[in-house]
């Protein structure tokens, strides 16, 4: 009797400290795996010759190559009003002229309309002063974000509002593009959209003019949308599934048209998710690098291209300065977003999902969806199929040679060689480990960022740091902060291998859990938790019994993303796996690349694609069960 009571007390005590302990553990992991290693690199941006200094940052900000017209403003702040005035005088006529041409062209559409609009646009854009490498990088990220929204939002609508066979599978597969190594996407895109690719073959067959997409800004934006539109789709679809159906029914019963109900009731509930998708897309594409050089080329270089070059040259001061400025942009946007999210999601909703419509039938809406399906087929399915085709195509036609290479490597690999099977196994194990670690981390941080006020918003901003720091810098930080080790009382402590990889992946993945869960947690009726606490439940008990079940759709979505991050992560994995058998599928793809043939790498990439697709179907099935 007495024994069981102390047992219960002990477990209550454990429950009471569970949340603070989890918070501490999360903070410790973040310090070891992120803030410390990254700090060892970024500190170079604010020191010169060992003393604190802002000059590395100012050097970048004074260089017109990096910041264009801003450089003059940094060099001579007093000259800004005169400079703006001069620009206004010389350019305002151009801008007005460009804008004035638009109504005429639109009102009287004819053959020249498109050309006239394009010319007006060029004049309009050209009238603004260039903002250098940073300006271009932000510009392409903005276009990529708009394209990802345009391609991703209809997908969220279809997946959240309609029922059709294969819906769940398609929803699962939307995570696939996100994990693909850039070389695979480059191979798929060149094959699909090149001069001799199926798109141009089709246009030629239809007697239409062909399109020159490669090596242009358009193809970069398209590739970025390929990576990120599915992200938008998943995040927004998850939010759409947790819209409170009763609010829509109420609006409808009060006489609102379906469109009106959507605009006034549904759209405000979706807006935070849309903004989340846009924010993440912008951050990711702002720091995009290999895909830009592979499909667009150096003429369309981003800041990250220069950052990578500086790291290669070991010009670490300038590298750190560029990285800090990139991070400031990303975190600044995150802060602005969190302010908005605070305002948008406070509420007392309880989710009761909207019913899905059957997709079968024929009306204007569904015809538009057919058009959307065609676009999806072109932008997503065609490159994916092209990747798979490339892995079975040699210079002289169909071949199984590249897969034979993988098989042979699997069975007869020499000791230092990479085995495909080991890579697959490691990727899956690390993925599951990451999921298990990042979900509690994300939950704890979502709770911490939930309170109102600047402090918790800053926690929210800090929580996004893994996304906002350049992967090149994270890799370098891991190398010098962890892999090389530090001397502690004469013993060298070094970190590496499978456990470190899972920890690094979890650190890179938990922001997805936070961003998927925090808005839902914020929207919960606080009184539920408060009554549970008043009835004697510990904070941990209230979290597990009340909040977690209610935000399960967000957790499931975040967990799937965490798994995806782990599968696709390259920068830190390749460094922590060095010298051990802990390599993953993307690392294997990279190692099979040679200056002679892409074949084995595309075969390994296709294995990655198929394994990932299959695991997402499984994960979503399991996650879906929790959602019901």
């Amino acid at each position: 009797m007495a024994g069981s009571r102390t047992g219960r007390e002990r477990s209550r005590r454990a429950e009471r400290v569970a949340v603070p302990l989890a918070g501490l553990a999360t903070a410790a992991l973040l310090v070891v795996m992120l803030y410390y290693p990254v700090g060892t690199v970024l500190v170079e941006a604010v020191t010169r010759d060992g003393a604190p200094s802002l000059s590395p940052l100012l050097d970048v900000l004074r260089d017109p190559f990096y910041v264009g017209a801003l450089a003059a403003a940094v060099r001579d702040p007093a000259g800004v009003p005169a400079g703006v005035g001069a620009w206004f005088v010389t350019s305002v006529a151009d801008v007005l002229g460009a804008l004035a041409a638009v109504p005429g062209a639109v009102l009287a559409p004819d053959r020249s309309t498109l050309g006239a609009l394009a010319a007006a646009w060029t004049t309009f854009v050209g009238a603004f002063p260039p903002f250098g490498l940073f300006g271009f990088t932000a510009w392409q990220a903005l276009l990529s974000t708009l394209a990802s929204l345009a391609l991703g939002l209809p997908g969220a609508y279809v997946l959240a509002r309609f029922e059709f066979p294969g819906r769940q599978t398609i929803q699962s597969l939307t995570a696939v593009p996100f994990v693909l190594p850039s070389i695979m996407v480059a191979v798929g895109f060149v094959a699909a959209f090149g001069t001799n690719g199926p798109l141009n073959d089709l246009l030629r067959a239809l007697g239409l003019p062909t399109v020159e997409l490669l090596f242009s800004l358009e193809i970069i934006v398209l590739a970025h949308a390929f990576y990120n539109a599915p992200l938008v789709t998943r995040i927004v679809a998850a939010a759409w599934e947790s819209v409170d159906a009763r609010t829509v029914e109420t609006a409808r019963s009060l006489g609102a048209s379906p469109l009106r109900a959507f605009r006034d009731v549904v759209a405000p509930q979706l807006a935070p998710a849309v903004a989340t998708g846009a924010l993440l897309t912008f951050i990711f594409t702002f720091m995009s690098f290999p895909i830009v050089l592979a499909l667009g080329g150096l003429k369309l270089a981003t800041v990250e291209v220069w950052l990578y070059d500086r790291v290669q040259q070991l010009a670490l001061t300038e590298a750190a300065a560029l990285a800090v400025l990139e991070t400031v942009v990303s975190l600044g946007l995150t802060y602005a977003y969190l302010r908005y999210e605070d305002a948008a999601t406070r509420g007392d909703r309880v989710a009761s999902a909207l019913k899905r419509e059957p997709l079968a039938g024929l009306d204007a809406k569904r015809i538009a969806l057919v058009g959307y399906a065609l676009v999806v087929g072109l932008v997503f399915v065609l490159p994916l199929v092209s990747m798979l085709v490339a892995s079975v195509t040699g210079p002289n036609g169909l071949t199984t040679r590249y897969y034979e290479f993988l098989l042979q490597r699997e069975t007869t690999a020499a000791t230092s060689q990479t085995k495909p099977g080991v890579a697959v196994r490691n990727s899956l194990l690390f993925g599951v480990g990451t999921l298990a670690l990042s979900v509690p981390m994300g939950l704890v941080l979502a709770l911490a960022s939930l309170r109102e006020g600047v402090a918790s918003r800053l926690v929210g901003v800090a929580a996004m740091a893994p996304f906002a720091v350049s992967g090149v810098v994270v890799g370098l930080g891991m190398l010098q902060g962890l892999v090389f080790g530090v001397d502690v009382f004469g013993t060298r402590l070094a970190v590496g291998g499978p456990v470190a990889i899972v920890a690094a992946h979890a650190v890179g993945a938990y922001p997805f859990v936070v961003r998927n869960v925090a808005p839902l947690l914020g929207g919960l009726d606080r009184r539920l938790v408060e009554s549970a606490r008043a009835l004697g439940a510990t904070r941990a008990r209230a979290l597990v019994d009340i909040e977690v079940p209610l935000v399960m759709p967000g957790i499931a979505a975040g967990a799937a993303f965490a798994f995806a991050i782990s599968i696709g992560e390259f920068d830190s994995t390749v460094i922590l796996a060095e010298g051990s058998r802990a390599y993953t599928m993307p690392v294997a793809v990279e190692r099979f690349l040679t200056d002679r043939t892409l074949g084995p790498a595309t075969a390994m990439g296709s294995v990655l694609l198929v394994v990932t697709a299959a695991s997402f179907v499984v994960i979503d099935r399991v996650g879906g069960r929790y959602r019901e």
Partner: protein, 391 residues
């Protein structure tokens, strides 16, 4: 020049002595090699080398004990991973020759920078030899580190003299070349005429035809850029690139990106290697799309070297490994497997007959020396990259 460099870098007495002996050794061996080379055509490089016993004064004569244990060789991934890679073959052969030795490869993602950073942070190097060193990396090693990262071994190698003189890129004889490539253009003869000169590339028939690699991120692209600097001078190469750019070129990230786009028929010319047909022939490809063009009858030589880490405790085993890589058999095999040219004269390496037919050698190989690149390389690349990126 060699001895001056040796004195400059080696601070402490012990190393100076060794370096001095190594230098003497290399001079002695070179002289001997010259003699035997003139004396009779029948002498193989291995025999020449055994004559140069002077080298053995530099280190203790290798004994059974010093030639055992694990030799850790750092290299780039495709040395180990590519289909029919040279690395595993070499490991097997070397271990057969030295049964008490084991070769282990490591392939750090950041290549030589990995070891430079280790050295800068006083972390143990944990590797004995490096395979795949080029002159750019050596320049970086020397500009970043005061302490030596690699040891001076030139004179200690019995087979070292066989290496062709034009390929030696390290004045301090730390890095010893084991193979070389020549940068050239590969083109599709059904789509464009063979370009003969650099100036051709700026004219209408070759407009919008060429894919090159980004010199910042690709060794191939860097070699092509240096070739243009060699041709037009440090004052003129940017003008040439402006002409080239206005005639239409595409600058992609690395060799894979560029060659993939070329293979898909996006453009009819790409910067690549003059051994392109060796690979094409291996898979019976149509040679129409694998034509090799040397501009101005030149090709830019890009030798790859190997070196021993100064901190290695397995120096005897490591130099034995390097020597092994320079034997006639290994040179032929490395060339074929790596699709590169041997570092020793081709007639001395065991090369299959087909190799000479498909591996093209430029009339005039050109390259920059270590001294010419020193202090200039990064600036040339940066100026070029800013020119292109602004475009």
């Amino acid at each position: 020049m060699d001895s001056k460099d040796a004195e400059r870098t080696d601070g402490n007495g012990d190393r100076s002595r060794r370096a001095y002996l190594a230098t003497v050794g290399s001079v002695g061996a070179a002289a001997l090699a010259g003699c035997t080379g003139d004396a009779g055509d029948g002498s193989t490089p291995t025999e020449t080398a055994t004559d140069g016993t002077v080298t053995e004064t530099a280190t203790a004569t290798p004994t059974e004990a010093s030639l055992s244990g694990t030799l850790t060789v750092a290299t780039y991934p495709s040395w180990v991973e590519s289909d029919g890679a040279a690395g595993p073959w070499l490991k097997e052969q070397f271990e057969a020759e030295y049964p008490d030795a084991t070769v282990e490869y490591v392939t750090p993602d950041s290549a030589v920078n990995y070891f430079i950073r280790r050295k800068q942070q006083d972390a143990p190097i944990d590797a004995d030899a490096y395979v795949g060193l080029n002159v750019d990396q050596l320049l970086r090693v020397d500009s970043e580190l005061d302490e030596p990262l690699f040891a001076q071994v030139g004179g200690e190698l019995s087979n070292g003299d066989a290496v062709r003189d034009g390929l030696r890129f390290d004045p301090q004889e730390r890095a010893v070349p084991y193979d070389t490539g020549y940068i050239s253009l590969v083109f599709d003869e059904s789509a464009v005429d063979r370009p003969g000169t650099f100036d051709d590339l700026t004219t209408e028939p070759w407009a919008d035809s060429l894919i090159v690699q980004n010199a910042q991120s690709s060794a191939t692209g860097r070699a092509f850029l240096l070739w243009t600097v060699k041709q037009f001078g440090a004052d003129g190469y940017l003008d040439y690139w402006r002409d080239l750019d206005s005639n239409g070129i595409t600058v992609l990230g690395n060799w894979d990106d560029a060659y993939n786009a070329y293979s898909e028929g996006e453009k009819p010319m790409v910067v690549s290697y003059s051994t392109d047909q060796v690979y094409a022939n291996r898979y019976d490809q149509d040679m129409t799309r694998h034509q090799v063009a040397f501009l101005n009858d030149q090709g830019y030589a890009n030798p790859e070297g190997m070196a021993v880490f100064a901190d290695s405790e397995k120096r005897a085993l490591a130099t034995e490994f390097m020597d092994f890589m320079l034997t006639a058999e290994a040179q032929g095999e490395i060339a074929v497997r790596n699709v590169q040219f041997p570092a020793i004269p081709a007639e001395q390496a065991n090369l299959p007959e087909e190799f000479a037919r498909y591996a093209k050698i430029p009339d005039e190989p050109v390259t920059f020396t270590y001294e010419e690149l020193k202090g200039n390389l990064d600036g040339w690349i940066e100026d070029w990259a800013r020119e292109i990126a602004q475009g």
